[in-house]
Amino acid sequence: MKKWFSSGNAYIWMVSGAVSISMIIVIGLLFLIAINGLGYFWPKDVWELNYQDRSGKTIKLIGELHNEERISAKRLQEAGIETPPGQNFVTRYLLKVGNREFGNDFRWIEQFNIENKEQGIKTPEKLLVVERLAWGNLYGNFVALKEKGKVVAKDEPGYIELLKKVSEVSEKRKEIEKISRKDVGEINSLIEQLRLDERKLELDKRKNETTMKPLLEKKKILEEQFKGLQKKLDELNAVIKIDSIDVQLADGKIVDVPLGNITKVYEPNSFTIFEKIIFYAHKFFGFLYEEPREANTEGGIFPAIFGTVVLVMIMSIIVTPFGIIAAIYLREYAKQGPFVRLLRIAINNLAGVPSVVYGVFGLGFFVYFLGGNIDRIFFPESLPHPTLGAPCLLWSAVTLALLTLPVVIVSTEEGLARVPITLREGSLALGATKFETLWRVILPLVSPAMITGLILAVARAAGEVAPLMLVGVVKLAPSLPLDGSFPFVHFDRKFMHMGFHIHDIGFQSPNVDATKPLVYATAFILVALIFLLNFAAITIRNHLREKYKALGSL
């Protein structure tokens, strides 16, 4: 024993334990996110059971199982729920019963209060799930398909007819969406532009009949167009309201759901494994390209993904030249001395400044100071409504560029350090100037390192939330920052962002049970994206090292 102890092996095992637990944490977290995030899309069985509620009444419940836990009886008693005597632990389920218009859509039920306990849980094939635009999911039994209030089909044929109708209606809805978003939006922005033109004339003191005439004519035409679109919209809206279905809820009530409100209907209990996989894929991709609904608690995260991508793209364009030039200066031009030491300290400090401080700086300097002045000089006609003087895409990108600058510098510098001195000397010996050597010989060799730096910067920026909360991110943006209307990239718009989306739906939402799976799914996609970028960066870097090894041996 003493020998064992004095050999110090015990300590070696101890430090090994530390590294093991770090690995377990890393891998465990990734699994946690992956399992919860990916599990969200899998169709769950819908249960039907009889449950004795707190007043002792037996009620029928239909819903999806969302969570299951074993809990000590004491905790339930503290919450005011009676537990069977002699039982220290009880099992309870979190059931998503949907039907939000009639009350809470999530419900904890204790196993001992279910009629016949586990045997009492049934999964009849015919249970219907209706995903709706408003009020969330509806669970129940399909009764009939109706047209203008009259029953046209029932039972199995009715259901088949329903599936057909639902896809028809969703086509129509897409059309409505397109008109109301794109066409109407375009007209609105043109009308707004006319208003600004008018205001500009007023500010320039040139407003009179002759200058106003073309504006008024244009406005008239636009208003005509607007009316036309409005009429078309009304027609389409009327069409999707014609059909509806009757669904019988768990408590026997029959509700009428207009097809215009339905996005999807399915009977998950009847799914075969193959159908489940198809459903899974459908839902997964739907999550990626759909808009969020109902205060972000339903639907997809497309605008958040899109906003994140546009943001990091603009940021890349800004950060790359600055970062690369700074690295070149440090490695190739600067004389190593106190100034370079100072520069390195500055860069390291830039890397260490808390991200929220960048946010504060961005808000004060970029948004209010620069943006405010730009507004006064270039956009006086739209004041007091700010153009660039409010948190927006441009300043978010600039702030993030400042934040990720050290990443690009460090990575590029590392690449420059790896270029063998022989190459430089060779180029100079052949009569090339220093700049030519840099431009023709060194930079091409370093380009993978620059890309690595850029990828790392993008990965960092994609996950950064705190500064964005101050300089331009919103929980729900009415329009995308990049679209088909002039000037295509809208620097002055606010945008959505995946990281902020996680914060928002996870912590600001009133219905945490409903949003938790969504948060996991969003988190999974964000992590996947960032890790993918990091792996890409690492791969490129390793590749680069191999290449230089070969060069060095020449």
Partner: protein, 761 residues
């Protein structure tokens, strides 16, 4: 290197080549300059951030500035001396009540008259006192020599007149008599009213008057609400407040109509509770000054604090404090820095903030703010005594009258009085609190409440979170770095290092979300299990090592050295599994089924779901990769020949580590810790999401906190541009920046020295 050095080869070349060479040389020089300027500007970036933040913060600590706008003699001297002076909202007009019973409204900029009105004071009766209401703006009561009072209410209506393109603002003064022209009897014996105070709340108006004998009367006037919308019946109730001694000097009713301050000419204050008007209770008496004589008094905005000044220029603030038995007692809260040594003549309070202005016999004024205990401005505005002074409601203008009848109109730039170094970092005694405290409360329901801007609770929160983070992260990261950098097999290291480092890329918002929505509930339900894991972790590794020691030599030889981390994973997983599954049983067996409630009941420990343990773990996970990565590099970079030498001389690997490797790597490890700490201090999303964000100052690890960074993220979007709050948030950003700046600079300095040292080895 320069191409111009070998000109001779091309001597006969044509112009084209010469031109091209010129261009090349120009390009080269230009690139050099351009790159140098751009590269050097990185320093500018960090300087810009620092100085910009500093520039935003700076105005907080500058005093007020004044600018003389106008100076004129009084119009209508026949109206008599001024009793009371007030300025309207836009500070275009001022109003004064005079001793002969006139109300005179005049323009602040020129002194020219707008309105002159004689009040219905009965013939042969003189005005003996005046009382004004802080709460009901414009409500004034005049005490008369026949024991009655006259209530007046003045207001200013703003309307806009179209004049060409611009709208011109027109202000019209309006004088009302809420209770008609009839005087209200205060003293039924008809003795002159020597001090009077008026206050109104909803439909009730309260008058407190004192006669020369020191008898205090309380008159309650209520108008019944009439269904038909007409004037209801006026109900008058009269009560007597007893216990006052001496000659009355000042009388105030507070805004809540719950207390009366009556001050006699011997500087003694009598503090009454009048919640029950039929039975006013004398709560206590105090002498306001130990030396010197009271010369001026007034209530601050909100009516809670009494500001008093004496003949030696001393100014102090008093308000009531509840003791242990909930008994109210008037206390001296703070003395203000003196702006003069001559007697204080007048104290006037601001109408929207807790500031006030005082004047003295020499014509000096001092502008103060109570919460921050600051003297913001000290200036001589007149050669003679300043008898009356009034703030405009926004606190941006003052009108003063001196004893020679001269009026002075000043604009005041006093935007940020709420903050001082001592109120940011020291304890402040806020109105309504039992003792001085550190508090952060940046928003209030009404403007009557003091803003509480102490950065101490937030800094405390930041440091608390950082401390527990480091407690969790340091052992794991440093030990991990040692294991990976010194003991581990290279093949294994190639896999382990990047795996841990990739966590650095994990967005903190995800860690924060997991901490708040997954870890916090998990921890709450499994407190015993998680503590058991922490306690048993290192003993388990030791135990496994001991068992390993007893395995047959031949078996042990099969596994190469440096693979311990792989071997130990299954026992650790087993430990975690066992602890978590027996956790509910432990809960039931030892802690009555719910450890959380057991702790609160038996140990008195408050437990929040989102607590510091959760933050420590989550933020620990965020900083482990950073510390690990830098420390591992430092350990790994220790030259092999050093440790080989030690091993060859017979030292065990562990001895070599302690005596050779660690000392050599210690600067690198130190710098890793500094950078890790910097990260923990500035991290925002995790503290935002995993703590309750309550600014409490408790060392209890099971309670939440509010960190500087999270506070910025929460409050910045709501802060008004340029307000005190906005600038304080910038100040907290500056504090964070300075803190991380020091940590990072130290770390970088140590690292650069280390690099130089290894260069020599």
């Amino acid at each position: 290197m320069e191409s111009s050095g070998n000109n001779f080869i091309f001597q006969k070349d044509d112009k084209k080549i010469l031109k091209r060479r010129k261009w090349r040389s120009f390009l080269d020089k230009f690139a050099k300059q351009f790159i140098a300027v751009m590269g050097g500007s990185i320093i500018l970036a960090i300087l810009l951030i620092f100085f910009y933040l500093f520039g935003v913060v700076l105005p907080l600590f500058q005093g007020a500035k004044s600018n003389k706008e106008a100076n004129y003699a009084t119009i209508s001297p026949k109206a008599g001396d001024t009793l009371y002076l007030d300025v309207e909202e836009q500070s275009e007009q001022a109003i004064r009540y005079t001793s002969n019973g006139y109300i005179i409204v005049f323009k602040t900029k020129s002194g020219s008259g707008v309105l002159e009105k004689k009040l219905p004071v009965p013939n042969g009766v003189a005005i003996t006192s005046i009382g004004t209401s802080k709460h009901a703006r414009g409500l004034v009561a005049l005490g008369l020599s026949d024991g009655t009072a006259l209530v007046v209410k003045h207001s200013f209506e703003v309307s806009y007149e179209a004049r060409g393109d611009e709208n011109k603002r027109v202000i019209t003064p309006k004088i009302e008599m809420p209770f008609g022209d009839e005087t209200i009897i205060v003293d039924e014996n008809g003795k002159p009213i020597k001090a009077l105070s008026v206050q109104a709340f909803e439909s009730e108006t309260i008058l407190a008057g004192a006669n020369e004998e020191g008898k205090i009367f309380l008159i309650s006037l209520t108008r019944d609400e009439s269904f038909l919308g007409g004037e209801g019946e006026l109900k008058t109730d009269r009560y007597i407040v007893s216990g006052f001694k001496g000659k009355i000097a000042y009388l105030f009713i507070d805004d809540a109509i719950e207390h009366i301050f009556a001050i006699n000419q011997d500087s003694e204050v009598f503090f009454y509770d009048i919640k029950n008007k039929e039975k006013p209770v004398l709560l206590g008496t105090n002498f306001l000054f130990s030396d010197g004589k009271l010369t001026s008094a007034n209530l601050l905005l909100g009516g809670v604090s009494l500001i008093v000044g004496n003949d030696k220029g001393r100014i102090s603030q008093w308000f009531y404090v509840k003791d242990e038995n909930n008994k109210k007692e008037l206390k001296l809260i703070r003395d203000f820095k003196q702006f003069t040594n001559s007697p204080i003549v007048k104290i006037a309070s601001e109408k929207q903030r807790k500031g006030f202005i005082a004047t003295d016999k020499e014509g000096n004024i001092g502008i103060y703010f109570s919460t921050s205990n600051r003297l913001l401005l000290n200036e001589k505005i007149s050669e003679s005594e300043v008898k009356h002074i009034a703030f405009a409601p926004h606190g941006d203008n003052i009108v003063a009258e001196d004893s020679k009848g001269q009026f002075h109109y000043y604009s005041i730039d006093n935007k940020y009085p709420e903050i001082s170094w001592s109120s940011l970092w020291g304890k402040v005694w806020y109105e309504g609190y039992k003792k001085p405290e550190y508090l952060w409360q940046s928003s209030a329901a009404t403007s009557d409440v003091e803003y509480k801007f102490s950065l101490i609770p937030l800094t405390f929160g930041t440091l608390k979170a950082a401390f527990y983070t480091m407690m969790f992260a340091i052992p794991l990261a440093i030990m991990g770095a040692i294991a990976t950098g010194y003991f581990m097999r290279p093949e294994l290291r190639q896999f382990v290092k990047p795996t841990i480092e990739i966590m650095e890329a994990m967005p903190t918002v995800i860690l924060g979300f997991l901490a708040g929505l997954w870890l916090a509930p998990l921890f709450e339900k499994n407190i015993p299990g998680i503590f058991l894991i922490v306690i048993l972790f290192f003993p388990t590794t030791m135990f496994v090592s001991y068992l390993w020691h007893f395995l047959p030599e031949t078996f042990r030889r099969k596994l190469p050295e440096g693979t311990e981390p792989l071997l130990i994973i299954p026992p650790i997983l087993l430990l975690i599994y066992v602890c978590m599954s027996i956790s509910p049983q432990l809960d039931v067996m030892f802690f009555d089924g719910d450890t959380r409630i057991w702790m609160t009941k038996n140990l008195g420990i408050v437990f929040d779901q989102r607590n510091t343990v959760v933050v420590g773990i989550a933020m620990g996970i965020a900083v482990i990769p950073i510390i690990f990565s830098i420390a591992e590099d430092a350990v790994f970079a220790v030259p092999k020949h050093l440790s080989d030498g030690s091993l060859a001389l017979g030292a065990t690997p562990w001895q070599t580590l302690l005596r050779i490797v660690l000392p050599a790597a210690s600067p690198g490890i130190f710098s890793a810790l500094m950078i890790g700490l910097g990260r923990a201090v500035g991290e925002t999303m995790i503290v935002l999401m995993a703590t309750g964000n309550t600014p409490v100052m408790e060392l209890n690890i099971f309670q939440g906190l509010r960190a500087l960074s999270a506070n910025i993220a929460v409050e910045m979007p709501e802060a008004v541009l340029g307000s005190t709050h906005y600038r304080i948030l910038f100040l907290s950003a500056l504090v964070l920046l300075t803190f991380t700046f020091i940590l990072n600079t130290v770390a970088e300095y140590v690292r650069q020295n280390l690099r130089a040292k290894y260069g020599k080895l």
